[in-house]
Amino acid sequence: MTDDIARDVPSPDTSANRAEHARATSRRGFLRVVGLGGTIALLPRFVVACDSDSTTEPGSGIPGSGEPLVIDFASGDVAILQLAFVIEQIEADFYSRVVDAFETSNISAGEQTILTEIRDHELGHRAFLAGTIGADAALPATTTFRGVNFSDRAAVLAAARAVEDLGIATYNGAAQYLTSPETLLALAKIVSVEGRHSSTIRDLQEPKNGAFSPAASDDVWRPAKSAASMQSYLVDKLGFANVPAVFVQGPKGGG
């Protein structure tokens, strides 16, 4: 899901390509800033103000084309909860769209039951985080699943797998920044269920072949690494401020 962020290829100088280049450049700028743990991760609004696809394609807007959504890690545990809340909004919206598309999809009845239950779990996670953070600090996100064909089983499962694994890596990486034992436990209660989800989705794709658990240890990603993937699901322009400079890697490293 990060292809369009990493891509930087020369292209003919058409108006459309210039617009795309501006977006790609702005995303690279965003990544640089969060990667440095800097104090600001926002870009000038005018860069994206002319993007209109998000208003003509509900739920499929251009990533990063919208309003800023800034998580300030100086706020402590609240920031980690806000990060989790963004993840859960992505997951809840994703599965809600999956369920909404059942009538036109080639997903079997049994699989529809599974995906509906996963949606319900994600709605539960979202409700818990919204209630815990409180209305003043909860950051509502506008999600986008551009390019996902919700009528196609294979496309839905591939996207679900990516979303679940992103959630797991993000939770596992952010936990080290928490100071409250209660919040640590609460997020641990959620992440093992995300592990159950990922395993289930992977087993639907590749039954009984070991794909349910690709490694003995799951990924552990620093927030700035998760940001790149998260941004691909957000119309909002995701920004991090005051990202902690120190990150303790997991067993696999590379986070």
């Binding site: 596992n172 640590l184 003995a216």
Partner: protein, 211 residues
């Protein structure tokens, strides 16, 4: 030291899981070919967890757990179980019980590890994998990948202790069951959150299977 106690408890749990799979796979013709990849994956990953935990323990100047001899009849809890022909479903039941136990045992230790960020992070990376394992074992048994209420499904009575407390529907100050009233309700609220088990609870369950 609390950190070492936590790591050693998890290592004991991993030995319980690992020994079950190793013995099941070693018994000729016991695990059907269709399920072999699942249990080979579980066996390899639990063994890797044992190694990861050993390293965490020794680098903190602790002594890793010596693998005990396990008795999978559980002192009468699973009468006559011996990895014998016709007992494969009992084996899968034990696998489900021990994987769901693993999720809850890991979760019960994370707060004790909070100040040791490397131990915490490594344990979390294994904890979510326990969730993957549990879901897969449940699914090959024809169950949902998640725990509903405190149901031990069709497992033997000893396993009820593994599911005690899973029926929670309120998390912190949020009544998740109410929030999901029209989207799965109480069942979904219990499925969506795995609950921890205490050291004492986990120790009691494991001890039953130590010869």
């Amino acid at each position: 030291m609390a950190v070492l106690d936590s790591l050693r408890l998890l290592q004991l749990l991993e030995y319980l899981q690992s020994d079950l799979y190793a013995r099941g796979l070693a018994a000729t013709g016991f695990v059907p070919a269709a399920d072999a990849d699942v249990f080979k994956t579980l066996d390899a990953q639990q063994s890797a967890h044992i190694g990861t935990l050993s390293t965490l323990i020794t680098t903190r100047l602790g002594v890793p757990v010596v693998k005990p001899t396990f008795d999978f009849t559980g002192k009468g809890a699973v009468p006559g179980f011996a990895f014998a022909a016709g007992q494969y479903e009992t084996f899968r039941m034990l696998a489900q019980a021990f994987e769901d136990l693993g999720v809850r045992a890991y979760k019960g230790q994370v707060q004790a590890l909070q100040a040791d960020k490397q131990a915490l992070t490594y344990v979390l990376a294994m904890h979510s994998v326990e969730g993957r394992h549990a879901a897969e074992v449940r699914r090959i048994r024809g169950k949902k990948g998640w725990i509903t209420g405190s149901s031990a499904d069709d497992l033997p009575p000893f396993a009820q202790a593994i599911y005690a407390g899973e029926e929670a529907t309120t998390q912190g100050s949020v009544n998740v069951g109410s929030a999901l009233a029209s989207n799965g309700g109480v069942d979904a609220a219990t499925q969506a959150f795995d609950e921890p088990l205490t050291t004492a609870q986990v120790t009691a369950i494991i001890t039953r299977f130590i010869a």
